[in-house]
Symmetry: C2
Subunit: 474 residues, 2 copies
Amino acid sequence: MTTSQKAAILGGGVIGGGWLARFLLNGWDVAVYDPDPEAERKIGAVLANARRALPMLYEVRLPAEGRLVFCDTLAEAVAGATWIQESAPERLDLKHAILADVERHAPADAIIGSSTSGFRPSQLQEGLERPGAVLVAHPFNPVYLLPLVELVPSAVNAPDTVTRAADILRSIGMFPLTIGKEIDAHIADRLLEAVWREALWLVKDGIATTGEIDDAIRYGFGLRWAQMGLFETYRIAGGEAGMRHFLAQFGPALQWPWTKLMDVPDLTDELVERIAAQSDAQSGHMTIRELERLRDDNLVAKMRALKGRNAAVGVLLNAHEKTIAPPSEAVAGQALQTISRIVPVDWTDYNGHMNESRYGQAFSDAADAVLAVIGAGEDYVAAGNSFFTVETGIKYLAELHAGAPIHVETVVTEGAGKKLRLRHSLLGEDGTLHATGEQLLIHVSLETRRACEPTDAVRSALEGLAAAHAGLVR
Amino acid sequence: MTTSQKAAILGGGVIGGGWLARFLLNGWDVAVYDPDPEAERKIGAVLANARRALPMLYEVRLPAEGRLVFCDTLAEAVAGATWIQESAPERLDLKHAILADVERHAPADAIIGSSTSGFRPSQLQEGLERPGAVLVAHPFNPVYLLPLVELVPSAVNAPDTVTRAADILRSIGMFPLTIGKEIDAHIADRLLEAVWREALWLVKDGIATTGEIDDAIRYGFGLRWAQMGLFETYRIAGGEAGMRHFLAQFGPALQWPWTKLMDVPDLTDELVERIAAQSDAQSGHMTIRELERLRDDNLVAKMRALKGRNAAVGVLLNAHEKTIAPPSEAVAGQALQTISRIVPVDWTDYNGHMNESRYGQAFSDAADAVLAVIGAGEDYVAAGNSFFTVETGIKYLAELHAGAPIHVETVVTEGAGKKLRLRHSLLGEDGTLHATGEQLLIHVSLETRRACEPTDAVRSALEGLAAAHAGLVR
């Protein structure tokens, strides 16, 4: 067991609080200095969010939290710290004063990161005794979830300092992007600021509202950018002919008034060649077809994640889905056709086939279809009743792969009082039996979370269905 | 059963092909006209991608595909069509010629959409007999997955035409964003073009490579934008004080050289008021705290979707996870501690608790931990062997909610030859038993996908573990 390391957080707003949570939840001791009398309350709010969200990202427990101390002085906060993070307001004089104070009290080998959105490291380093200890470490909100940190050294930072800084950031789950040449606002904020200024024009000129602009992003290119960025996406758009073709095709548009940003670089042969070569280095190990598949699989997985939460694009997908397929209908003497679908890519695992738990998902969804048939669907749940599964058994007979059409047939083998027992058969397109499932559900009150009798209407529908299936029960 | 409707696709490149797939896979008949002799091959490639990906988005089967016809003439393609989509190259003279030809042959009430990235609808309508039939319907690549369509009418389009167009687009799963005032490049492409031009400068000036710019997007704000856009994200950044505070805080940066886009609107009181009011209308029904939770839950779900695919940010999360927790270790006479984790938000369902299938997921992951202990982990799978689950039984004893810490203890109840039988106990933080699971796995060759004997090393490790657990088997 290594002794835990100490991080000093100077400035505890949304950004400082996010840094604090990152370090603390990854096992570091954290000392905070913020003269704001409200700091402890504000940090508490960020930390509560972080404690809830960050651990959910992992299939393992995070290390035990470090020790959190609120300090009355900057000197106390930075004493013995391995990493010191300055997140003061965006004023150079203020940052200079803080950094000068830091170097008076910090250990000689401490790394001092600044969260500045816009200042260049050489600006921050002006007038310091040990400028080589200070570099830009610019994170993105929410800092406890988004991994990007722009790590920007100047010429005075030793390469070893940059490497050590990057290693520390990686150890707390972040993605340090080292930027070799300093520039105002680094990289990401330049892109963001261009979008922001363009968006302000659209609102000012009455072309779109803030809500419409957000929709244009989250139903469109925002979905792409969570996986591939700008250039890899456009490389695909260029097709087999690649990035040079894309640039030739869209080059002329650079002269058109498609944005207010009319100061554009000339697409010289040299620039085209540089972009194409960099794009080859980045993505050239995959064919366009492979990139398309990768893009599509990732889009499907992300869109399905939002569908599961009924958020953003998920709202649209769920609404559209309801218009596609009619609900299951009971036909006397026949098993219910409960599920008919395609195996999605996010249901597969490292063995390249549908994970065992997703057979359980299909049967869980099949049970929901039965519940809808007996009038115990969404409205019934909203009114405070439901059925919970108490026991399930699955026999796996054959593998399934992404893209395979499957359907589930379900028989009510027992339906009386609080009890509902189902037998499911999971079949492939050609009728092959891939799995069977037995499931026992109990009717519950969602208020008491305990077993109770269903409503008369549901009980009678359930008994009717059980009677109609009586001949199918082996 | 309604008779299926017909869409005409004029131009079958990546965009036209994507439109074609959207209509066809949603049950429309589709007629294509594209003079390119390669059109059928190119469309085939897009359609193959679409047939694979689009159906995976839904928990139900899409309707049966419509009929696809390649036509020799534009007249044949548009005859009887309800929707006609023009996706020709971005040249106004070319689009004019096509649209004039379309209105000579199309039904009087057909809607004619143009995929133009940049032209305004009134430009397209110039010189037409029935300009009111033509509007911009600008989609995003891949058209078969991304739902956004910018629907831009001019003053000559009847409101009923716009409503009908929007209804049709929604019926094929798209998100029509009607833009009230035409402008070059509409909304999304203006934002994209601003980013693109800024990115070209960064490459030209040697600040960053294409790969670094893409990383700055996909590990940072790209993750945010798949759910909330620009303004709702910044509303949160403004905290309890809201959008006015955010604008006051970041207003001065508009004058700074944070992008090459230096033509900026004045942040007058009127503009600030407009943005704040629009933001209130968009998100004012939620507190900042609620927005933060929504943002975080969606981020967690999306990041976990990419983690499951080991793509983009998922690569980072998986690598970090390996540094956090040591693998399970066998201790003689004790159950294996196989899983220790938090219930993530994407494991919960409409009942507000962990879905039954995720108990199966936890037990499936627990089995993987056992396999790692006996030397049948990742490398073993890569070498062509694995264990497949053939039978599982779960008893659900108590509910679990998002954020709950859980752990799983696993006993090898049988381990000999090809057979591995496990008994899992899923426990809460306080030791409450939430579920038990019994699982039978069989050793398989990943080449033949059939049962076979494990390697000697794995067999002997398995037998050793079974012997060590003998006293724990009830």
